[in-house]
């Protein structure tokens, strides 16, 4: 099994506003992005359109979490800035993520809009507000213990560098942890 974390920089308050006021437009943007990216079936598009509207409304199904989170990622590609951090792509073991040590920090806060999933099972959505980003960049993750694996240290450093850039732009960070 491999895992990835997809990161999205955003003005979370502005995104929350758009989710409240533009559900139809957001759903159509998801459909347009999926169509442009590949060849989804008509059924895929119907479901994704509905999932997008459900996310905007904050109504989730216990059975469709993976599909809802997949749709959330498509929505964020339109509503936010996708940030690629190679060290968080296609890693094999959750122990590696545990060694990096940052994921619990993403679970301390909730974004100011509803997101699917839970803290108990994958996939999961995490969030760092701009104030948390400010705090963690100021102390360079001082709350975290040292990594065992030097590559985990690289991953932590890369994330810190990106958070510094988000701090300068006064943005928040959404993170989606998925099995791939």
């Amino acid at each position: 099994m491999r895992y990835s974390i997809h990161f999205f920089g955003m003005d979370a308050a502005a995104v929350a506003q758009r989710l409240r006021h533009e559900p139809d437009a957001i759903a159509e943007a998801v459909v347009a992005r999926m169509t442009a990216a590949g060849a989804p079936t008509e059924q895929d598009l119907v479901y994704s359109r509905q999932f997008a509207k459900n996310i905007c409304a904050g109504t989730f199904s216990a059975e469709d979490t993976a599909d809802e989170i997949n749709t959330l990622c498509w929505m964020c590609e339109d509503l936010a800035e996708k940030i690629d951090i190679p060290e968080f792509n296609l890693f094999r073991s959750l122990d590696y993520l545990e060694d990096i040590g940052v994921w619990p920090l993403f679970q301390l806060e909730k974004p100011p809009f509803p997101v699917p999933g839970s803290r108990e099972a994958l996939p999961q959505v995490g969030y760092l507000s701009r104030s948390a980003i400010e705090r963690h960049t100021a102390d360079e993750f001082a709350v975290l213990p040292s990594c065992n694996d030097p590559e985990a240290e690289d991953a932590r450093d890369d994330l810190l560098g990106i958070m510094e850039s988000l701090r300068d732009d006064q943005l928040d960070l959404l993170a989606v942890l998925v099995e791939v």
Binding site: G9, I83, D84, P86, L90, P150, D157, D158, G161
Partner: protein
């Protein structure tokens, strides 16, 4: 102290490098002349090992200039040669079949197909691997100060060349950055490169932002900005365990940037021994008395 010791590189039995040098020479003989793209890439990597090993202090290499020249020629042939075409492979099959790495699972038709998939850039699905050969070519040619020849290599790339597939290990903006490096060196800078540079500058990864700052200072010939940005780039390289710039312990991206800065007339900044250790210069390789 040797440079690899200054950098804390695990050299894995450094006393064995004399023997490894013989093995490297033997491997070079095995791959040289073989018209299969993987062998061409490997030849370039082998030829890059020589200056990197010398830089790290693993082994003394007296004819490093000749090996750089050979490296430059290998890169030029990689980008500009017709060695990969079906016509050439058929010719080699008739005239010197020993150059073809025929295996139970690899016949001549498979070589032709594999080459076309990776070298025939007229095909939209071509998986052309260009960035490591390009960077190597700039290093070989730059260390020999053959900038017209480097421009010739770089002009094989335009702003439309797609990023290589890296399974998510390298961000696209890094490839965009290297296309910009090629665009400036070839003298064929255009709106396409400008767009790539904008994309690279928007990147939030600190490592790439450090490289960009040093490269832009070098290209602009801005000594003050270079004195600040270049050490920062080397520091960010040294801090990382795994970085696309690293080859045998040497910092290739920073070496490229230094060579470009030198071409622009800049001086090598005052650096600590540790920072100096990572960057190949004409002086560190014994090619000149100045960096």
């Amino acid at each position: 102290m040797k440079n690899y010791e200054l950098l804390g590189v695990d050299a894995n039995s450094p006393e064995e490098f004399e023997e490894r040098l013989q093995d490297l020479d033997a491997e070079r003989c095995d791959v040289e002349g073989c018209p299969l793209w993987t062998y061409r890439i490997r030849l370039i990597q082998i030829l890059l090992n020589y200056p990197c090993w010398k830089q790290m202090g693993y082994v003394e290499i007296s004819d490093v200039a000749q090996r750089l020249e050979d490296g430059y020629n290998a890169v030029l042939d990689y980008f500009r040669g017709d060695w990969w075409t079906e016509g050439n492979i058929r010719h080699v099959e008739l005239e010197s079949p020993e150059l073809l790495p025929i295996k139970p699972w690899l016949n001549v038709d498979a070589i032709i197909k594999d080459n076309a998939q990776h070298m025939d850039r007229s095909s939209p699905s071509c998986m052309f691997q260009w960035y490591e050969p390009l960077r190597s070519g700039i290093i070989f040619g730059g260390l020999l100060e053959k900038w017209d020849d480097v421009a010739h290599i770089c002009s094989a790339l335009d702003a439309d060349v797609p990023p290589e597939y890296s399974a998510g290990t390298i961000i696209d903006e890094y490839f965009h950055y290297y296309l910009c490096v090629a665009g400036k060196l070839s003298g064929q800078w255009d709106a396409g490169f400008e767009k790539l540079l904008e994309s690279a500058k928007k990147c939030r990864q600190k490592r790439l932002r450090d490289l960009l700052a040093a490269w832009e200072a070098a290209v602009a010939g801005d000594q003050a900005a270079f004195d600040k940005a270049f050490p920062a780039a080397i520091k960010s390289f040294i801090k990382r365990k795994d970085d696309p710039s690293e080859h045998m312990g040497a910092a290739l991206d920073e070496t490229v940037i230094w060579l470009i800065a030198k071409r622009a007339g800049l001086s090598f900044p005052e650096l600590s021994d540790k920072l100096n250790a990572a960057v190949m210069t004409c002086k560190s390789l014994g090619l000149d008395t100045a960096p």
